[in-house]
Symmetry: D2
Subunit: 364 residues, 4 copies
């Protein structure tokens, strides 16, 4: 299944080393202005080859809008986006065509389909996430225009390193989406040493959506947090999803966790902006855990298609920490889920919620 | 949206204090033997009123099978299950009809729909999970019969308390689904003190599915772990979901996290049985974080439907730790997702995977 | 698959001779007043046992609303409706448990599922349509309140008999939903003779929805006419669906068929109110062909579960013309499709259409 | 909504005069051999510019396979197909940018979206059906390989002209898909006169699928005939759908209509191969009514975007009978629905049906 979303429906296609990757965004309301240039910034944020800390594959990632537009505006018909692959080096993968790399999708795709495209990971490659980011550009713009919503993310942990401070301004000023500038040189040294060792490390990314109105989400099986969990868990290498305090809530007392409300606003935001699966008007906050890259220069034990033992050494171009580039991807998924729910809410409830007293979402 | 699953599709309905709750299980293959008695055990495990550590509401939870059966077997047509509500005490909630309790779905349902059923939390009550457990009984039985799969869960953290040992035998022998019997008296004392204080606490539940064949899951937007995340996050009070090592993977090195493979089997199971969104044949392992119950006897600040400040004290009958009864619910959701994916895999891939060499899933 | 609709989603369950039939209506907007009494009229129109021209099974068809309501209004949560079966005579079917009646679903259910409930046709019985009519009551009311839409139907052919005049007033004044009172005695004689002969006959039903605003329908695979076709073809015994002129359009010239438009309105309605899959503002008109009942007292050749020849004579209680009772069912399906599309249109397009000049839908 | 199918899911995109049209075919089982050349024949059958009796637009219709293949075989991942538009003449449409042509989707798209692409009909153009035919090539091949199913169609009425004989061999030997060669010169003269007059005419197309096993179809809302009705009604210009005898069944007696069964086979096929929404093993037969083309050189009354009266004369290149080219499109839709149901049946019922005695499907 290569589609997600209910009313805003995104379908992606393409393999890492195939001729192209693309997506179809169906259900976008008519009238949104959109130009190919608007995709450049976010795709660049996700791109490989932009610093020495990420994979060195260099793709132009030029988006061609194939449909759904007339005179610079969306028409309500499906928007197809296409990106040609230009820097695929399939010969790097010849050696592993019959081998299953440990902790990779190689083995499971083979077991499922009985056939797989081994070039660059085929469909399981993070290359696919390019199209999530592209689709996310549309959602971000629509949410900003219609509700003033701002969706942004940052790295909140790199290996064992935690931020020592927080400043949104810092996030876009370094290659790590790190929220504290003073730590950047240390992170660079950390990554250089890691790359030299041939090993990799995990990361944590946090996304915050500011300005989400109360009322979005469809209990009990289309909850906002449930859909966020599915969307975020579907990103390559993600092993965990938290809303608000997440796993920290396990050891909390109810008297601490509950976000009290006053006419002046909520007094805290442990819930991460979702109660009963519906947005509360506070910031919607989600965090994800990304595992360390599985493609290592350090030899590992694997098996081949005949079930025999092999020693696997992954050459090719890889990220020593896939989590770094995951920030724009996670933002995109959050934005797409929110836009889908904006439409779903409008369908069932119209503007009914807007007449009720709303509690300001501060303290989030 | 009150349905989930793609080929095995479960729709639930009903409110906490309405006349009944129920579900429709659509897509179950024909020929499965099923009797009303088979629902008793799991519903009892989820039930309130079974120990002093959970809510004291006492419901018979008698399941009536309304359709989809002939001479004791499923026929392939939709199976409707009905449970009448018998111990609803709606007057307990009179006081809060116009108040929004902090950290409850009260406020968000009101904002979304402009109307809500305040009796016992209405649709947002954990009462709805009765039907998840009932539907899960069907999935567990089918998975066991067709694949020998065993889905079971346990509490893996209660507040700040962690298990000091692990024994599956212990789990069903205490009111907490706790895997280490020696700690049970201490847990009872902990809960007694908590109940006396009027406060509540969070919990963590872990579910393990043994025997899942490799190949289940539909990348990239119907991944097994993505669907598990959605299903588990949709359970009341859940704030986080992990697959395998989950958030521990953040600080791991790739050389540690990757599960090496030999002809004799996997050497570890950090991945939790899922690679690239497809089952690997190892145990599928998922954990969830449950927030502390929001209904407390300790007064909290809230607002009412006019936006004015109120002090909220929750009487009624509540669990001091909702996580305790979440174990059978989480098991049910995992089983339902697995059965759905068993059918989805059969649809697209038939038995293609079965001819390939499989790596034993031990060391999980 | 026992659900239909995209945003207004109806799931039905139950067999002809099981304990109950029911449905879950999910996605209905909050705030709609609804009482059990409101289901009586339409269920009575569909009911058996109301005249000598239909099956003599007598069911109370009392609707219990199990969920989704608070203080007489819908809350936005799923509405479950239940009807107990009370007049099932399963012994009538003992003889045919191992036989496949010609032109019945007996053989195909057996081939599909390997098991079937033979009592009264099981799931394939027209009894299931009771719940379509019940769900349709909700849709009709909502469409009338929000858009002033009126959905009504009539028999437009009975065997070879065609109406000799047309009067909406007449339709509800006879047992045949026939639009011309003067013909009713002749129809009664026709049916009496048919019943005596042990044979059956087909019928045609026409449904007209007045007041549908322009803009509903989602090209190209959620077209209004496409969804109507699916909904109407899913009714028992339906073999054909037409929109507007339908098959008469085959022999028409374009200069005749095209509905010209003037500022004063459309000049004709050959299209049946749908252009390019989207409503035009004219009356939406659909017709269906219903085959003659297959259950006959006249012996017919069939086979049994062992593949051997049998002579089948159907006793039990049957309609000599199933098409007669199909009128309220067809109305219900049209209403449910329209309400679904009202919500879908609101989701994607908001109120954008309402600012454009609209052409009156007269001449329809 | 621009996707259809449940397990075999086709999403199309693109406008008549945009840069390209395309589709994504998701859910195709792995292992199917497929080459770009295999699309040529069916696309050519659907193409414009192939005879003087159809639109003179000449498109290369070269299919590029963008994804889902490895070494000439499908891999189970989504198959994206792209066709560039090369012969779009948008200036032909300048005049009608602000006019609504009678019986066209112009007015309804405008009402729905508030914006439309007027060039060549935009999304509502029959150009979109190119991708249905392309997707259908995959389904036809898969059905033939796995079940020996043959899906083919023919024109069964052109205006008031009916076939005077029937021969499948004749169908592909003339530009009309007409099943009787002797009538071809008369049809050519008929079309020449029609084209000269500036008028258009309707048509009827019939599709027959031979070799469909019993058991496909999911009652009661995923019936095989219901899904066929939706798929066929979604084709441009279609106003009616029949299964088997269709509207002829209205005037039939039950004793005539019912297809009796003997151990040697069915004795007739009035049902068109579907009973209770499930295939019977007989030929699946569907017919569609296509309205006459709305684009005429004969002036017609329309309105413009300001609601004022205009006289519309359609220049540009159009088919005087759109029904002629509809044959391969209808075949494609039937094939896609059948393949979807093959997968759905395998999911729920596995191979359960295959052990039962089957009645030969002859006499169909």
């Amino acid at each position: 299944m290569n589609s997600f979303g209910h009313l805003l429906r995104v379908t992606t296609f393409g393999e890492s080393h195939g001729p192209a990757i693309g997506c179809v965004v169906d259900g976008c309301p008519p009238g949104l202005e959109l130009a190919p240039e608007e995709f450049v910034a976010d795709l660049q944020r996700r791109a490989t080859g932009t610093s020495r800390h990420v994979s060195q594959r260099r793709e132009a990632d030029e988006v061609e809008i194939l449909s759904g537009m007339y005179q610079g505006r969306t028409t309500g018909t499906p928007i197809a986006l296409l990106v040609r692959n230009t820097d695929a080096r399939s010969k790097d993968y010849d050696a592993i065509g019959e081998q299953f790399r440990p902790a990779h999708a190689d083995y499971t795709y083979w077991q499922k389909y009985g056939i797989r495209d081994p070039r660059g990971g085929g469909r399981s490659s993070a290359r696919e996430t390019t199209m999530r980011v592209a689709a996310g550009v549309i959602a971000k713009k629509w949410l900003a225009q219609h509700f003033g919503i701002l969706v942004r993310g940052h790295l909140s942990q790199l290996g064992e390193v935690l931020p020592e401070g927080f400043d949104w301004e810092a996030v876009e000023a370094n290659a790590f989406f790190w929220p504290w500038s003073a730590q950047v040189p240390a992170l660079e040294a950390y990554m250089d040493a890691l790359r030299k060792s041939g090993d990799s490390v995990g990361a944590r990314v946090r996304v915050v959506a500011r300005g989400v109105p109360p009322g979005w989400g469809e209990p009990v099986y289309g909850k906002l947090d449930g859909d966020l969990a599915a969307a975020l868990m579907s990103i390559n290498a993600v092993k965990g999803v938290e809303i608000g305090d997440g796993f920290d809530a396990v050891a909390q007392k109810g008297s601490v966790h509950r976000d009290e409300m006053t006419p002046g606003g909520f007094l805290s935001n442990h819930a991460g902006g979702v109660l009963g699966g519906i947005s509360s008007g506070q910031d919607v906050i989600a965090s994800i855990a990304l595992k360390p890259t599985s493609s290592l220069r350090i030899p590992g034990r694997g098996v081949d298609v005949r079930g025999e033992a092999v020693e696997v050494v992954t050459t090719g171009r890889h990220d020593p920490c896939v989590g770094i580039r995951a920030t724009p991807i996670a933002e995109a998924m959050v934005a797409l889920v929110l836009m889908d729910h904006a439409l779903r809410h409008r369908a069932q409830c119209g503007d009914v919620g807007e007449v009720h007293p709303k509690i300001p979402g501060h303290a989030s």
